[in-house]
Symmetry: C2
Subunit: 282 residues, 2 copies
């Protein structure tokens, strides 16, 4: 497996792949790889001839006071794991490679989906996400890029960007990979101490409880949200950013779940912010 | 020459060009072609194997009260002229092809250059320009895109976007083409009645006067700007948006012209807004 740290180097590798008629898959990551990332890489490997995983802790998607500085970084371990998942090349650029001196161009979105949920609690976050994704798409020019469903709103907005800007690639959304107890895999889970780790299962348990109630005929979105909220609150001290039952495209809150919706939650346990979501199919 | 009105059609044409190893040149236009556009097309033809000219009156770069509705449109004439300049394909998309229902993604820039001059008098203009250029770059994937120096600030910001976003193309800046009396060619010149047309030469005359003064040793930027301004005011009633002697990269005003600078002016004669600029090389 190759590890490239410059745009020129990864482009030169990809040019030669393209010349051989090989399709390219991209898995954008911030490193600290876990089974969720690896499942994206395996899927990319199954669907594309050459797979590039990017490893870049993107400063522009962190707000002030967020965990940019302490975000876990271990490129050697990431490279080992990515190689085991069949990745052909890692692109791990330096900061000035991605944001050269004087770099000032960004991509952003209007529309209602971007300002809701994560957008409300992390202002500017998605501008950073969209901008770095666009750069990666421009650098790698993949046929397909793989995103995890855990970051549902992110995938929704990236897919919209791809459509709006006429980018010639497909965004592939992959199922959330979970720990045996249901906790969605996240690089941030390693911030959790044992007690917080036990508590953290409340999110997936709350989502599962909402799904079960839906299956038993509950259609009221506020009552489904209350079920999730009560699981979060019962599990221990935490600060809930939001619990929402929302339209899967606009992320506007729905009143009743008469067609496909999505339940989403974000909370902080100690200093760690966790998010999760699940589809609601009536 | 081909005329395509869908993204799929122009992509399919370009895919076949690329497969033959042919390089692609793009000349983005809003139609109403004149000799300035044709010079870009000829240059593109000289430097690239296949040349695409886009013809799209981009609504997002017009402000309220500007001339979007009356902007001249004549695709048949444009196609004839483009063919005569050796263009291989025209891409003339419909509005929903470029801005599909719900389209909400845009690109914008921080930094000081975007808010000055045109940015000050046409708020949102460059967001529209950058967004449509990015879409065209994504659709056509050119090796080179050709811009006229008359829209100096536009070319500067587009070039910066290309660098900032890691777009794999080169922005080629081409000299302004002028009428025999010096007026910079512009699609908007056709709005001018004969008297306004005669008056309009004041801009290029003012710029020429500043260059002449510079050649004779004048280094004071305010005095050079005053020379331009006095030509504009002497020619007849007009409304001056700005006259600037500026840094060629940041567009910040300079005090003295000790190294390369640029002189820029924008004014309105009757209802017609005209811009022009020239390099100042001490």
């Amino acid at each position: 497996m190759h590890v490239f740290d410059t745009i020129a180097a990864v482009r030169s590798f990809l040019l030669s792949e393209r010349r051989q008629g090989r399709s390219i898959g991209l898995v954008p990551t911030m490193g600290a790889l876990h089974e969720g990332h690896l499942s994206l890489m395996r899927r990319a490997r199954a669907e594309c001839d050459a797979v590039v995983a990017s490893v870049f802790v993107n400063p522009t998607q962190f707000g002030p006071g967020e965990d940019f500085a302490r975000y876990p970084r271990d490129l050697e371990r990431d490279a080992r794991l990515a190689a085991s998942a069949g990745v052909h090349a890692i692109f791990a650029p330096s900061m000035p490679e991605m944001y050269p001196e004087g770099c000032a161009t960004f991509v952003d979105q209007g529309g209602e989906a971007i300002g809701r949920l994560e957008g409300q609690f992390r202002p500017g976050h998605f501008r950073g996400v969209l901008t770095v994704c666009l750069k990666l798409f421009n650098i790698v020019a993949p046929d397909r890029a793989y995103f995890g469903r855990k970051d549902y709103q992110q995938a929704l907005l990236v897919r919209r960007m791809v459509r709006d800007l006429g980018l010639p690639l497909e965004i592939v959304l992959c199922e959330t990979v979970r720990e045996p107890d249901g906790l969605a895999m996240s690089s941030r889970n390693q911030y959790l101490d044992p007690a917080a780790r036990r508590q953290a299962v409340c999110i997936s348990r709350g989502l599962a409880r909402a799904r079960a109630a839906l299956a038993q005929g509950e259609r009221s979105a506020p009552r489904l949200a209350d079920l999730i909220r009560s699981e979060l609150e019962a599990a221990g001290p935490c600060s809930i950013d939001y619990v929402a039952v929302a339209d899967p495209e606009t992320l506007a809150p729905v009143e009743t779940v008469e067609r496909r919706a999505v339940a989403l939650a974000a909370l902080r346990i100690g200093g760690t912010r966790l998010i999760d979501n699940c589809p609601l199919e009536p």
